[in-house]
Symmetry: C2
Subunit: 181 residues, 2 copies
């Protein structure tokens, strides 16, 4: 039920197509949400049917038509109402931590490799968040002020990745100690 409000939020900031939205999910809210293109298209259809979104088709030379969605007044009202309610609980799903939890089935080398792979991924994530952050810091100060809260969510994402990376590095050090296990 939260996906629809994530969609409304991004379209409230700037209208766009399903395809656009998918990329914007990856680029700007990946630190707290993700969704496939199929989820986008279905949600866009539903929101349109319910009158929360307007749709204008924009013909493009060579490429398929783009369906540009934007919030209706009712859409903006629905988003505003939801934003002011207590949020549904967060959901954490970390398959990697299940694997460590069952880590008595891993050799020390396997555990090291597994942690190292995750560490690489989290470092790449941190880099991409830092890049986003740079973009924000070099953007129009008026926009920065308007979307100050949105920017704070990115800073949380950055700190979360740093925490993960520190933990991963500590793990590798501990797994490298010859007396351990």
């Amino acid at each position: 039920m939260s996906l629809r409000y994530a969609v409304l939020t991004l379209l409230d900031i700037e209208p766009g197509s399903g395809y656009d939205l998918k990329r914007r999910f990856e680029r700007s809210v990946s630190h707290f949400w993700s969704a496939s293109h199929q989820q986008m298209y279905r949600e866009l259809h539903r929101l349109h049917d319910e009158g929360l979104l307007d749709c204008t088709e924009q013909p493009q030379a060579g490429k398929p038509d783009k369906k540009i969605y934007s919030l209706t007044d009712r859409g903006r009202e629905a988003l505003r109402a939801w934003v002011q309610q207590p949020p549904p609980a967060q959901k954490i799903r970390e398959p990697f931590l299940i694997q460590l939890f069952a880590g008595h089935h891993l050799s020390r080398e396997q555990a090291q490799d597994a942690v190292q792979r995750q560490l690489d991924q989290h470092r790449a994530l941190l880099d991409s968040y830092l890049e986003q952050n740079e973009k924000v810091l070099h953007s129009d100060p008026k926009l920065q002020e308007q979307y100050w809260l949105a920017h704070q969510t990115l800073l949380l994402g950055i700190e979360a990745e740093r925490t993960w990376i520190e933990w991963g590095e500590k793990m590798l050090r501990k797994l490298g100690e010859p007396d351990k296990q």
Copy 2:
């Protein structure tokens, strides 16, 4: 697809009923997974049908019978094989951060209240994780060694909560500055 391995992992450490499992999810892996009792029962039935779990009914005075599940050899083998594979990507779902992302629909007071509520929840979570940690540190050193990797996942959960709490406190300070926004 990961739920089944979370179930196998917990039953591998100690056999138990669906009801037991549900509580163990809440008590020992809530920092990276959660599931309802219906999910447990359905998954247990499936795993039993597929021959990965054994089931023995244990009559109890007064209470309904307990169905105690434990891993078969094939179950243990399936878990071991999965644990050694690259894990599926983690899924982050944080409705609260969507609300902040759409925070231009919030007054400063509403934002403060919202952050404060989340902060309270995360402090409670941290407390419960620290309590779990204390229990581990006072348990049999042999068990501590055996489940050393499992314990490390809890330490990550603790650090993640601390990061969140620091961020929330910083947010409240910034939202309290009269020049902000």
